[in-house]
């Protein structure tokens, strides 16, 4: 124990104030706790009192629509490839004018970890995260959401964006006919 006393002396010296310091360190905390006892608790009393999450909060996933009301998803599989837990699956298909769409689209929310990688991977802003966090269930099979459960009648975070107005294979406008696009280049004219 003599060692401990040496350490104490080295740290605080033979200072007579060190006893005062110890006493103060014992009594002062009582005032701190007493003061905090009369402050309002910071708790949100959840079921009655709900926190509004920030707009970029990542919770339930939705499929959005473009301004014309068509499905944005082009069934490119980038979201299901990005998904670290493989909770997204789909089957791509094409309609008569060549526009791709998902024949079925399924998210297993009992697996989803809400990482948001699918939304980041999406080239058409179709799959988006929403701040709807009250999302849980007892039956895992009821947490499997199909396309019709996922689709919403809204553009989500960007209501203006329409993928086929900027790129793609001429569904909205002829190929290369969009405002911010060049027409197709004849590669032969580019040769040296």
């Amino acid at each position: 124990m003599a060692e401990g006393i040496d350490v104490y002396k080295r740290r605080y010296g033979q200072n007579p104030k060190s006893l005062w310091r110890d006493l103060k360190g014992t009594v002062e905390p009582f005032y701190v706790t007493l003061r905090n006892m009369f402050k309002k608790p910071v708790t949100y009393q959840y079921p009655e009192e709900k926190r509004t999450p920030y707009p970029r909060y990542r919770a339930r996933i939705v499929l959005t629509r473009d301004p014309e009301g068509g499905e944005r998803c082009v069934a490119c599989y980038l979201c299901s490839a990005a998904c670290p837990v493989d909770c997204i699956s789909m089957q791509s298909s094409e309609d008569e004018n060549g526009r791709r769409y998902a024949a079925w689209f399924r998210i297993n929310f009992s697996r989803c970890i809400y990482c948001g990688l699918c939304a980041e991977a999406c080239p058409t802003l179709a799959i988006q995260m929403t701040p709807f966090y009250e999302f849980s269930g007892r039956d895992p099979l009821k947490m499997v959401y199909e396309k019709e459960d996922l689709l919403i009648a809204d553009g989500g975070k960007d209501n203006e964006y329409n993928f086929y107005k900027h790129a793609g294979i001429g569904v909205a406008n002829p190929r290369g006919g969009n405002e911010d696009e060049y027409g197709p280049v004849d590669v032969r004219s580019n040769l040296p």
């Binding site: 124990m1 014992t26 706790t33 007493l34 905090n36 006892m37 009369f38 708790t43």
Partner: protein
């Protein structure tokens, strides 16, 4: 009915009342502690079950009663079964000598408001608080677990060390009151409580009782982050509940002892004596809770240092000084 039968009946009624009040008191003390600790940490604490969480103790009791009563393999079963009861019973028994009000007159009979006014009440209390260590030591020993055993050993060492300081800090009280009976001690504090007459003894007793009740900052027998839960690591269900309730009953007992020895017991202006008594006990309990929410746990060596090298010498000197002063005053 003969006088004897009436006496027995009165004692039984008093026992039943005290038993009920103590158990509900202990249950609600748990709730109060959780609420106050919550407020200290700027939370609400349990407020869901019933208005203001008032039904929480009931819910806890139901939960504890319906839990599995687990007995570890190789445990020393009889001792394992008896230990939690010992912890609760020794705490309960101590209340037999606590006077919570002056004698009242009921149907022309004088009824003392104490189960048994022993003329050696102080010694009875000290003896029972020494016995309380068996609950911990045997519980820790019988569990066949290293954590429980270490907790039991620490509990033994701590209670023995602080018992000395506690006993010594009561010597000036007995000197000043001139009696071992708790009723006489209360009556001796009529104008001025002993907490003001002898603040050193009061502080030493307060600290030692905090250590005796094994609460933060003296909770090294159950230090969560070293020993899981210390001596009651292996206990579950209502056996754990008994340890738990025992701790809170103990808190109420020690609160009443502080009230009786130093705060003037039931004596106070305006309000009826029994209200004063309970208010004082609750105030002491609040200080214990407040202390738990404020101070960190002492290290084992700090605990032993503080007990043996500070509290015991201080209380010894206090005994000598008080005795000398009393002699000098007597002339």
């Amino acid at each position: 009915m003969s006088d004897f039968a009436i006496d027995i009946l009165l004692i039984l009624v008093k026992l039943g009342l005290i038993f009920a009040v103590l158990l509900t008191g202990a249950a609600y003390l748990v709730l109060a502690e959780r609420r106050v600790l919550g407020r200290i940490q700027r939370r609400y604490g349990p407020n869901r079950v019933g208005p203001f969480g008032m039904m929480q103790p009931l819910a806890d009791a139901v939960k504890l009663l319906t839990k599995e009563d687990f007995i570890p393999a190789q445990a020393d079963k009889p001792i394992f079964f008896v230990a939690p009861g010992l912890a609760a019973v020794t705490a309960l028994l101590a209340f037999a000598v606590v006077p919570f009000s002056p004698p009242i007159t009921l149907f022309g009979r004088e009824v003392p408001m104490v189960v048994c006014d022993l003329n050696i009440g102080v010694l009875y209390f000290l003896g029972l608080s020494s016995l309380a260590v068996y609950g911990i030591a045997l519980g820790g020993w019988a569990s066949n677990s290293k954590y429980a055993l270490l907790g039991g050993i620490r509990g033994l060492a701590q209670l023995i060390s602080y018992e000395l300081a506690m006993g010594l800090s009561l010597v000036p009280v007995v000197l000043m009151a001139g009696s071992f009976s708790l009723t006489d001690i209360v009556l001796a504090q009529n104008p001025v409580p002993f907490a003001l007459l002898n603040p050193v003894a009061f502080l030493v007793f307060l600290i030692s009782t905090a250590a005796e009740s094994k609460r933060i900052p003296f909770d090294i027998p159950e230090a969560e982050n070293e020993l899981v839960a210390g001596f009651h690591t292996e206990y579950s269900g209502m056996r754990f509940g008994l340890f738990f309730v025992g701790e809170y009953i103990n808190m109420m007992i020690l609160g009443s002892m502080i009230t009786v020895f130093f705060l003037g017991g039931w004596i106070g202006p305006v309000l009826p004596p029994i209200v004063w008594f309970f208010a004082k006990v609750m105030a002491v309990a609040f200080v214990f809770i407040w202390m738990r929410g404020t101070l960190p746990r002492l290290r084992y060596d700090q605990l032993m240092h503080f007990g043996w090298k500070f509290l015991i010498p201080v209380s010894l000197i206090n005994v000598i000084v008080t005795g000398a002063l009393l002699l000098w005053l007597k002339g």
